[in-house]
């Protein structure tokens, strides 16, 4: 947890604005530079967090300072963060590097991948942990033993088996479509939600489904994986992806993990976390069992979001961060969008493109917009505020322009005819008349921002998205609600605050007119 959050927590809500200064945000992201700890990131899935935590504790054991930036939202965001040197290390898979990052056609050797990564991004793949988390076909142990199945090719003489796949797997060329071709399978699988397929097999409603080969739930439901004997699925070998200029001493420590984890072991580690053991304990236990801990350094007990009972101070800090991100973005949005709206109104049709651009910004999916911000701002609060700022532009801009356009033409004529300058008209007549509608636009932007800000956790900005993201990774509805309920409450409170503001700022008879 950043010290800035703790500091902010001690302040009363009214002092919030003071802490919103830009330099405060800079502190947040350059904090790493001052003490130069090694920054470890990971995606929001359980396995990524387990691997990151294992690396973190191993490095701490060898005397390195480590900063954890977990639950970054997916490959794109982790990779952008690493590319921009906002993080130093994150766990990645060979298949992902090959297909999503390097986007190389066909299969390439690991040596080629290493060369490309170094040349194009100055990144380095360290030695593989040992297991591969690839697609696989899973069946119940009972069925496998009854029919004597071992390999996927053994399925060909059993057209009576019932196949059920996640929709993504069902429709991908590197999923069922290709698999059926390579193995000559003629089954007609049904598509269903992945979370339900294991339970369906367990209840004997289904025989075969797709799985990730290290999924902890495989153990829980006692499922067995069939061997991919024709090597259809690409290997997803896990390894630390690091920036090339990282100190050799760090790389050497991480390579002690090379080949230390089998598929079975990884399944077990994932299962432990999914069964609500703490990330810290699971990682520590693994390192001890492999004899990798020297015990020379006292192991830190990091404050992670993996808390099992409601942690009120943590939630309060999240809510404060959430508010900070939202308010800062909203203020910036107002400062830019209201004058821009007045400009759009003044310039007339010429300026329509401004509205179109703002409209297009609004349609960019939140997580993509957040990802676009990383190359410019790195990870943390800055890119989140920038993205939220862009989202707040359209409602405010649109309402300002529309409100100004819909002012009674008689009033416009009179204000011109009586000799007011354009600026005086705007200041004394048009903006006050447009105020109720502009305020409504600001309210819309604020509510949108509070919702969207939950995604800011994906780029390490914290906020109420932090418990939501962690809860999603751990499939823990309680934890998700700990973030979702306060976020919803915050949105409701924002609505009320704006209603109150409207009552104070706008004369009642104008309010009625505006809502008619």
């Amino acid at each position: 947890m950043q010290p800035s959050k703790i500091r902010a927590c001690a302040l009363p809500l009214l002092a919030l604005l003071v802490t919103l200064s830009p330099c405060h945000l800079v502190n947040l992201s350059t904090y790493a530079g001052a003490l130069s700890p090694i920054v470890i990131g990971c995606k929001q899935d359980v396995e990524g967090q387990v691997l990151a935590e294992i690396m973190a504790q191993l490095l701490e054991d060898r005397g390195f300072a480590v900063e954890r930036r977990y639950s970054l939202g997916g490959t794109l965001i982790c990779f952008e963060a690493l590319k921009r040197r906002s993080i130093d290390i994150y766990p990645e898979y060979s298949g992902t590097v090959e297909q999503a990052i390097l986007q190389l056609p066909g299969r390439v050797s690991h040596a080629q991948m290493r060369e490309e990564l170094g040349r194009r991004f100055r990144l380095e793949m360290l030695d593989f942990f040992g297991f591969s988390n690839t697609y696989a076909l899973a069946m119940s142990r009972g069925t496998v033993e009854r029919l004597g199945l071992k390999r996927i090719s053994d399925l060909t003489p059993h057209p009576e088996l019932r196949f059920g796949f996640s929709n993504e797997f069902l429709n991908r060329d590197d999923g069922w479509v290709g698999l059926a071709k390579v193995y000559g399978l003629s089954a007609r699988p049904v598509g269903m939600e992945h979370a339900l397929t294991y339970a369906a097999i367990h209840e004997r409603k289904l025989d075969i489904t797709d799985a990730y080969s290290t999924d902890g739930d495989l153990k829980k439901f006692d499922l067995v994986l069939l061997e991919d004997d024709r090597h259809f699925f690409p290997a997803y070998l896990a390894m630390p992806l690091v920036r090339a200029e990282l100190d050799d001493s760090v790389k050497r420590v991480l390579e002690e993990l090379a080949g230390k984890m089998t598929q079975d072991e990884m399944q077990r580690l994932n299962q432990s976390v999914q069964e609500k053991k703490s990330l810290h304990d699971v990682a520590a236990q693994f390192l001890r069992s492999k004899g990798l801990l020297t015990g020379l350094q006292p192991s830190s007990r990091p404050e992670t979001a993996v808390e099992r009972s409601i942690d009120w101070p943590f939630l309060f800090r999240c809510a404060l961060t959430h508010l900070k991100l939202t308010i800062l973005a909203l203020l910036a949005g107002m400062v830019v969008a209201i004058p821009l709206g007045a400009l759009v109104h003044r310039l007339g049709p010429v300026s329509r493109p401004i509205l179109y651009v703002a409209g297009v910004l609004q349609t960019i999916p939140s997580i993509a917009l957040l990802a676009f911000m990383i190359p410019i701002f790195g990870i943390g609060a800055k890119p989140a505020v920038a993205a939220l700022f862009l989202y707040s532009l359209l409602p405010i801009l649109n309402n300002t322009a529309t409100a100004l356009l819909s002012i009674d033409p008689v009033l416009r004529k009179v204000s011109i005819g009586m000799g007011l300058t354009p600026w005086q008209r705007l200041r004394y007549i048009e903006l006050p008349l447009a105020a109720p509608t502009i305020l409504a636009g600001i309210k819309t932007a604020a509510v949108i921002n509070i919702g969207t800000a939950t995604l800011a956790a994906f780029i390490g900005a914290g906020g109420l998205g932090e418990p939501i993201v962690t809860g999603l990774a751990l499939n823990d509805p309680g934890l998700i609600l700990q973030g979702a309920v306060p976020a919803a409450l915050l949105a409701v409170v924002t609505e009320l605050v704006f209603e109150l503001l409207q009552r104070v700022v706008v004369p009642r008879h104008l309010l009625q007119k505006a809502t008619e």
């Binding site: 009179v414 005819g417 000799g419 008349l433 008879h509």
Partner: protein, 243 residues
């Protein structure tokens, strides 16, 4: 030179000609009413005077100089302007509506208050109305506030575009009387656009009769009544005064 002089002024909107080659000097210190059927160019003529409309051809001279279209707010500040439906700003109180211009040109508070009180008294509005909003007033009261606002800076020139058009007959009668009283106490050059010939004859010393963008006749009211210049004017008076 008279305050308002039109020289060969034409105005067309696209192909449509609203005014054609109008040359006229408005008499100083009296009220001139502009009348004519709808679409004859009355409002266009009025709005040419404060630059809301720019001529397609010819020049409009106000206060002895051709209008400088780059300094319109300055010119308009010296011209009172009131329109039908009052055009009061709904977000401002009566007092703020009346005094807006004076505050913007930097009159001191005392002078502003004195002038506002004096005007409201003269049009028969109690000072207690000062803090009300326009929507809390009747149509006639709003119209009076509109007049006060237009006269706040003691303009030498006063443009009225159908100012009493939307009022009931009794209220209109009252306001017309107040208008005459005001004009007596502070005489100025007034241009009044109206579709009501009786109102024109009552309030104005001189009339301009417009026929499809051209001046059909210009002169004192009585003269026009007695000696219509052509068949159009005669017919116009006949039909408009009969009812």
């Amino acid at each position: 030179m008279p305050d308002i002089v039109f020289q060969g002024v034409s105005k067309s909107y696209g192909k449509e000609a609203a005014l054609q080659d109008v040359t006229v000097a408005f008499a100083d210190g009296v009220t001139t009413a502009v009348v004519g059927p709808s679409g004859s160019g009355k409002s266009t003529l009025l709005q040419l005077i404060n630059g809301l409309v720019r001529p397609t051809a010819g020049t409009v001279q106000v206060f002895g100089k051709p209008i400088d279209y780059s300094r319109l707010p300055h010119l308009r500040g010296q011209i009172g302007y009131a329109v039908q439906g009052t055009g009061l700003f709904p977000h401002l109180t009566v007092e703020k509506n009346i005094t807006l211009l004076a505050r913007l040109v930097g009159w001191n508070a005392e002078r502003i208050r004195r002038r506002a009180q004096e005007l409201m008294e003269r049009v028969g509005l109690p000072w207690t109305f000062a803090s009300r909003y326009p929507h809390q007033l009747s149509g006639g009261q709003q119209q009076r506030v509109g007049l006060c606002r237009a006269m706040m800076l003691q303009p030498k020139l006063f443009l009225l575009d159908e100012p009493f058009g939307a009022l009931d007959p009794i209220t209109r009668n009252e306001i017309q009387e107040e208008f005459l009283r005001l004009q007596q106490s502070e005489p100025r050059t007034i241009v009044l656009v109206t579709h009501d010939l009786r109102e024109a004859l009552r309030l104005a010393q001189r009339l301009i009769i417009l026929e499809r963008g051209r001046i059909a006749q210009h002169g004192p009211g009585e003269e026009i009544v007695n000696e219509p210049a052509n068949e159009f004017v005669r017919h116009f008076f006949q039909t408009r005064l009969k009812a």
